[in-house]
């Protein structure tokens, strides 16, 4: 396929379309990390005492920790003193009360990104919380949701308005001492989304957070907390982009999900942080801790992720299946091209009886990309009748890429049924040949085969996201089979 490959190479070297930056006046704290910075962040956000205490406990614990070395990702040492831990667009007055108060420059940014903040322009039924650098700039449809008792707001607002909920649930799934990056996040996180669905309420629209890193030399540390009370249901989407910069930027987020009895949470991510250029320069270091807790009986949490961006992706969205009959799901597509590295997977911790989990992971490596699936399925002694099915497949495009699989399976209960299967192969030449013999051009055929490879995951995504994800894959991948 020598000939089309030339064109495909052009295609693949296409610019990162979300790579522009926005000129905005910002309020950015100087680089560096210390208790004073944490006090400053806490003060800027006017936080109650318990939050500052929690942050400081996390920071002191973080000082005793070392960066984890066990994953396959390699990067030059991160200088944590060279990062600014807080950056916010300068707001007029006390900050935006409504969309009308939001800096028009900011609104244009989100428009360019295709994230509609103007409620009237919204795709039917998506409420958005937009997080720009360190702070949430706008949340749409709040009033409509409030009518149902749903709280959907920025984390800072939740701390002010609903401190009792924050206090009860913050850190109850990912404690501040959990791991190096989560602990750092606990100390310095600046904003994020908060969502509470009251008992028996089915959230009528998709909730969404859009994360944008804009300022230079900043790290983004946001924290999302979603609580679905008894019998509640919510579907949540997360999207992320960043400008193109030569230096690497750190993103260390934490997401905590809590599902009580009979509740269901669906969490979908399309992660498209700037991946760096084709020589591996720049890009976001994405070290994220995501964990859901199926705390109640018959609860259900599902993670769906499409990871196409970031220079480094290090994340393991997990589910703790505590309640009896709880269900955990993980659907993932991770793509690494050029010099991207991904070490991603999940943990399913079965504690309750008759708990079930499903893991579908699709890894695609192209160029010099490194892609690792790392997963743990643990069936504790108490998990009578637990069931897990895992499938992780890797597709290889290019003879300098790498794909690894590290599935850990630990079973302590004899009634458990655990199945794991994995396969790794190159894109099928016979499939390509078949498509081409039917008049489908090589690049289209590749896109088609890759989309088919990922179909099981895409079908878990809400429609708009599925379309976006397919397009993203198409752009990032075609041509890598030269």
């Amino acid at each position: 396929m020598g000939k089309p490959a030339v064109r495909l190479d052009e295609l693949i070297d296409q610019d990162y379309r979300q790579g522009f930056s926005t000129m905005l006046e910002t309020d950015t704290v100087p680089r560096g990390l210390g208790e004073d910075v944490i006090r400053l962040i806490s003060a800027k956000k006017n936080e109650p005492e318990f939050m500052l205490d929690w942050r400081l406990r996390a920071y002191r614990h973080w000082l005793t920790m070392r960066e984890p070395q066990w994953s396959t990702v390699r990067h030059p040492p991160i200088d944590y003193q060279d990062i600014s831990y807080y950056s916010a667009p300068k707001s007029r007055g006390d900050g935006p009360r409504s969309l009308a108060d939001v800096d028009p420059e900011l609104l244009r940014t989100y428009e360019k990104l295709g994230v509609p903040l103007q409620e009237r322009e919204l795709l039917a039924g998506v409420a958005v919380d937009a997080v720009f650098d360190s702070v949430s700039v706008a949340t749409t449809f709040k009033d409509k949701l409030a009518g149902l008792g749903i709280i959907f707001c920025s984390f800072s607002e939740a701390v002010q308005e609903h401190p009792e909920l924050v206090r009860q649930y913050l850190g109850s799934v990912v404690p501040y001492s959990d791991n190096y990056f989560a602990t750092l996040n606990s100390a310095v996180f600046s904003d994020g989304s908060f969502c509470y669905i009251p008992p028996g309420v089915r959230c009528p629209m998709e909730l969404s957070t859009y994360f944008r890193i804009n300022a230079r030399n900043t790290g983004q540390f946001e924290r999302t907390l979603i609580i679905a009370d008894r019998g509640a249901y919510v579907s949540y989407l997360e999207g992320c982009t960043a400008p193109m910069r030569d230096e690497n930027q750190l993103h260390a987020a934490v997401v905590e999900l809590i599902a009580l009895d009979d509740a269901q949470i669906k969490y979908a991510t399309v992660q498209n942080w700037y991946p760096g250029d084709k020589d591996g320069k720049g890009g976001i270091y994405n070290f994220v801790t995501k964990r859901g807790d199926c705390r109640g009986a018959n609860s259900r949490i599902s993670w769906t992720q499409v990871e196409t961006g970031s220079a480094i992706t290090w994340k393991y969205p997990s589910v703790i299946l505590q309640g009896d009959n709880a269900v955990g799901e993980f659907h993932s597509v991770a793509l690494t091209n050029h010099y991207q590295q991904a070490d991603t997977g999940t943990k399913m911790i079965h504690l309750g009886r008759n708990t079930k989990s499903t893991i579908i992971s699709k890894g695609i490596s192209a160029g010099h990309g490194h892609n690792a699936y790392r997963g743990l399925v643990r069936v504790a002694k108490s998990a009578e009748g637990a069931r897990n099915y895992t499938q992780c497949d890797s597709l290889l495009l290019g003879d300098r890429c790498a794909a690894h699989t590290f599935p850990y399976i630990e079973v302590k209960n004899p009634t458990a049924r655990v199945e794991h299967e994995a396969s790794t192969s190159r894109i099928g030449e016979d499939q390509l040949f078949y498509c081409q013999s039917r008049g489908i051009a090589a690049e289209e055929a590749v896109a088609m085969i890759v989309n088919g490879f990922c179909k099981e995951v895409f079908k878990e995504l809400p429609m708009e996201f599925a379309v976006e994800a397919q397009k993203l894959l198409g752009v990032s991948l075609e041509g890598s089979i030269a």
Partner: protein, 449 residues
């Protein structure tokens, strides 16, 4: 370096004078290097990724003798031991017996060997023809991982083992049985086997570890196998150590152009057993098969770590391990397949299946793929489950008691691995062993096929 590891170190340094190969500078250098390596590494701990699920604290805390009790020269074995060995000997096989880690020629039967085959004690060969070993012993290529831990202790302290050399094109019609019998209490033996199969040769090897009356001992064995171009070695490892024994073993095979290596590991005995099998497909068109069956009952802990390195294009590997866990038995399986850069057209498949029979049993399995090339076909699978209630129901509807149905199905699950053994005499022996060791055996013998 911790205080506990200091103790064996001092002992091993003193042991050097009693070991074979005195005066061979290359060997002394290697042993010193190994001692230094152990001094640096100490015993592996749960913090080492490769030992995450297997604690060797019991070995570390035990006090072992490093030399067999004085006066009990292996040649003068008791009649009782002789009879036991007779029972363990496989009909029709050439036999090489080691008692407490020392070669026992009086008990061995090596007269049927064809021309072109050398089978000798490693210690003796070091004394008589060390130049034959120099090229092989201590070669780094045999070791997928650096010299450390038990491998280092073995290098520093090995006293004997088998040296087998098969000349070009020679086929051993009868299998060669290497029988390691432990008879002394609390003895640590470090045995080392070196098997060299020259181009086009063929060899079936049975490495068997058993105990007669001994307990609390450690058997630490390393087998290095060089499979020449177009050669074929089948290596059957049969571990039926005493119930209170520690067994640590490494099998390292290096495969040349177009060669074949078949390994089968049957692990039935020992309180704590760890087997590392590392295969390097070092030239094109090499092929390996790794089979395994482990049974853990009581408080047994059985660990298999395998590693297959596809270093060059066009290698094929197949791996199939099964395990039955009963009582408070625990099994660990880690199967790593590494497809190195440019090892295109590699074909690797791996499967691990576990049967959990009791609420206290536990299994930790980790099939692992590391792929650095693109034109490859790799797959792996792992399952943990229990007997199918419908199958039990069917058997019960045919009049079998619940226990009998369970035993029959368990046997059927495990026997698949035995049936894959092509040597009839060995297969029969294994099947008998399997039946005797199956959980809840005895009461249901009459229903077995």
């Amino acid at each position: 370096m911790n205080a506990v590891a200091d103790r064996p170190l001092g002992d091993y340094a003193r042991l050097q004078a009693a070991l074979p190969g005195q005066g061979l500078p290359w060997l002394e250098r290697w042993r010193a290097e190994a001692l230094a390596a152990f001094a640096a590494s100490g015993y592996p701990t749960l913090r080492d990724e490769d030992w995450k699920y297997t604690s060797v604290a019991a070995i570390e805390n035990a006090v072992f003798d490093l030399l067999p009790p004085a006066g009990a020269a292996p040649a003068e074995v008791s009649a009782k031991l002789g009879a036991a060995i007779e029972a363990l000997a496989l009909p029709g096989a050439c036999l090489m017996v080691f008692v407490d880690g020392r070669y026992a020629p009086a008990l061995s039967r090596l007269d049927a060997l064809p021309a072109g085959v050398t089978v000798a004690s490693l210690a003796e060969t070091l004394a008589r023809a060390p130049e034959r070993l120099q090229a092989w012993l201590g070669r780094r290529q045999f070791h997928a991982s650096p010299l450390a831990g038990f491998a280092a202790l073995n290098a520093a302290g090995f006293a004997d083992g088998a040296y087998v050399h098969v000349d070009q094109g020679v086929t051993l019609a009868a299998p060669l049985q290497l029988l390691f019998v432990a008879s002394a209490e609390k003895l640590a033996t470090h045995s080392r086997n070196l098997i060299v199969a020259e181009a086009g040769s063929r060899l079936d090897l049975i490495e068997q570890h058993a105990a007669r009356g001994a307990a609390g001992y450690l058997s630490n064995v390393v087998s290095d196998l060089a499979v020449g171009p177009g050669a074929a070695i089948a290596h059957y490892k049969l571990q039926e150590e005493g119930a209170r024994a520690f067994h640590v073993a490494a099998v390292n095979a290096e495969l040349q152009q177009g060669s074949r290596f078949a390994s089968a590991s049957f692990a039935f005995g020992a309180a704590l057993a760890r087997t590392d099998i590392a295969v390097a497909l070092a030239a094109e068109n090499a092929e390996c098969t790794l089979d395994g069956l482990y049974l853990a009952d009581g408080r047994q802990h059985i660990d298999h770590h395998t590693r297959i390195d596809h270093l060059v294009p066009r290698g094929t590997s197949r791996e199939f391990y099964k395990g039955v866990l009963a009582g408070a038995g625990r099994a660990v399986f880690n199967g790593k397949v590494v497809i190195h850069e440019d090892a295109q057209h590699s074909d690797a498949a791996q499967s691990n299946r576990n049967l959990l029979l009791s609420p206290l049993a536990e299994v930790d399995t980790k099939p692992q793929l590391e792929i650095w090339a693109d034109d490859v076909k790799c797959s792996h699978g792992a399952t943990v489950g229990q007997l199918d209630p419908e199958q039990i129901f069917y058997l019960r509807s045919r009049g079998l008691a619940a226990a009998a149905a369970q035993t029959l199905l368990t046997w059927a699950f495990a026997a698949e691995m035995v049936e894959r053994v092509p040597l009839a005499a060995l297969r029969e022996r294994l099947d008998r062993l399997l039946r005797a060791r199956l959980p809840q055996s005895g009461e249901t013998l009459e229903v077995w096929p």
